[in-house]
Amino acid sequence: MTPTLRRRVFLVAAVVAGALLLWGLTGLPDYGVYAGPYGDVLNRVAVAERKAANVVAAVTFDYRGIDTMGEEFILFAAVLGVAILLRAQRDETEQPPDEDAADRHAPATSNAVRVVGLALVGPVVLFGLYVVTHGHLSPGGGFQGGVVLATAALLVYLSGEYVTLRRVSPEVIGDLAESTGAAGYVAVGLLGVAAGATFLANVLPLGEPGALLSAGTIPVLNLAVGLEVAGGFVLLLSEFLEQTLVIRRPGEVT
């Protein structure tokens, strides 16, 4: 189809599809009225049963923990895919980047930016850790905290310490953190089996709601997810960054 024809065909079909959608959507209960039993039951029983103040966390990591395992491996697969695509490309085209080349290509950064950036790293890391470890008590958890932690690594880059980051090799660290976190999730699941219950059964002591050490496996799973997500996003960002930096020629502005 030519672009014009395609646009016309799409618009006609979209009008019909939109009408169908709206027709079906008006069959829903009015906005603001929650009909179903699922959420109500969980809101009633979850805190007592799981000692997790945050019921969303209890659903995510306990009642429907298998979904979250799947979700973590979706991230895992996507990061692997990005790594394979972009690393293969690098092998095809470029000479292996050596330390000198990386030094030369790193962007020049003013001292002020560098200081501000580095000064932010500490608080951002702390905030990320807080979000990861308090997922069962307050909004947040492994995923949100993991992304925050990954941005801390980015701050190190923005402050011009990319060379430092390279020495630590984000790929190796990222791969390791990501796979450890992912394997950790499955391992916690198997813990339930080892204890004679089912996969992903919450077999650790539950404690009291509101305490940092409560809700059994939920904070442990949050840690695993935090590790995986932080590693995964560091990898994602560094794979794209790596590409840009190694290829960029001196003097070019990105």
């Binding site: 169908l20 079906g24 069959g27 209960p29 929650y34 799947g70 491996f73 499955v186």
Partner: protein, 599 residues
Amino acid sequence: MDALPVALPLLVAAILVGLAPVCPRRAADAATLATAAVVTLLCLALLVRSLDEPVVYWFGGWTPRDGIALGVAFAVDPVGAALATLAGVLATAALTFSWRIFEAVRTLHHGLMLVFLAGIVGFCLSGDLFSMFVFYELFSVAAYALAGYRTTDPGSVRGALNFAITNSVGAILLLGGIALLYGRTGALNLAQLGQSLATGPADRLVVVAFLLLMVGFFVKAAVVPFHFWLADAYALAPTVVGVLFAGVVSELGLYAVARVYWTVFSAPLAETGGLRGVMLLGAVTTALVGGVMCLLQHHLARMLAYATVSHVGLTLAGFALLGPAGAGGAVLYLVADGMIKGSLFISVGIIDHHLHDVDERRLAGRGRHLPWLAALMVAGALGLAGMPPFGTFLGKALMEEAAVETGLPWLIGLFVVVAALTSAALLRATGRVFLGPRGGAEAAATRSPDEAAVRHPHVHATQVVPAVGLLAGAVAVGLAPGLADAVQDAAGRFTDRPAYAAAVLRGAGDLARAGAHPPLHLVGPALLAALSALLGLGLALAALLPERLPPRLRGGVARAWGPVAATLRGLHNGSIGDSVTWLVVGMSTFGGLLVLVVR
């Protein structure tokens, strides 16, 4: 331990990737292959256990309270377990095939393959609609990456992009359907959803939710016109991946259509006789478009990709009869067909590996020294045609009987024609490559001049064994004693919504055991299969030796065939925008028809 077929491959994948820098390649290969084999056995064990009653496994021990599912369950019946086993078998075969030649392989690919397999298995076993979505995305994301990683081939990247974008749109619609159902019922468990909807009529919300879910699965199954992404993605993927793509991924879409229809929608939509017609319309279109496109291909893997589309249409026709007999035949057909296509994909992989090409025209006559490979391809083509003793024969016989019982005997004609089309394409290609004269002037020009000097790599036993093994598996499915009865029993339970709901929500295993099934009439279907194969052979010969045809006939065929071929080729242009546009067109058409028939 029923979570193990999913948990084990994921755990091994994570460990392999973590150890990638220090793990020797052979160890990674061995661990991956062993894991795939163990998953296959675990799924097989589940299949055997589920023959008596469904295996229901509640993660975290959250059994339902008062009919309300708090957690997520694997609800395993023979149909789901059979598909999971098929995926395991194909993965094992594909990894065996790649043992010697996949030199570019890295541990990361192994990780992706295992995640892919785990996603498929989870999708087949899950009894929860949202978990099905998660596993659907899990194997899809792995598949997008696997489809595009062969970075030396530009087409593979384009194919992967189209695959990923179109299928993501499908996933969005699927999730929209889930949200609609959740808003109405407050449930995600299939059995509970079915219970909840059974009390009401098929109102607008039910119809639109059904539409969204079906379109989401039709995209994966590659039902026309949701199929435009498929050929590039399947044909240009590496063999080890293509075996699974062609063998089981489209089948998963069909499985989900059937599973969700029978567990969730069969009660409110039961009164709508028109639904059968609408589904059959899609099935017939898919079967014919796929068959004709298959015949138009010269790229061998692309030919198999369109054979997949065409047979998706056939299988959908079996499900679209909306009865247990048709569903049983469809499931049997789907498993046998998946193994045959997997075997053919491996054969094409061997050709690619050995002769460095997969274009039928350029390959003409270059396979003369490989008669055993020709035999494998011919056997595969006959399997696609539904010849006994392949399992496809038995599956088709069941579907044909169901079609007659449903009062739609003309469907038999469709089966004959489609089987003839796809087998004709394969027989033509086999004849040209393995028996034909070495290519004419045009082919010689495109071939490298020093081709004679190129050393053909050795064909390893590890490449041949899986191709033979898969064909043997397809035969075993056709010959296993008592299998037809077992399939009909399983299909009876697969289509029995109240029994499924009772087993999942109340753990009640009191299944009405189906009585003895009347013996199948096999002579008629065998004659029809022979007719298909003969038609296919005739078409193949006509394509190979056009000069033997009477000139008038040749001219007539060219005049009639040319415009059809040109139009179809033009539509299948690999454009991402077109693919998504057709998706929306298909959705509004299917939706409009649904609105008309559901009254």
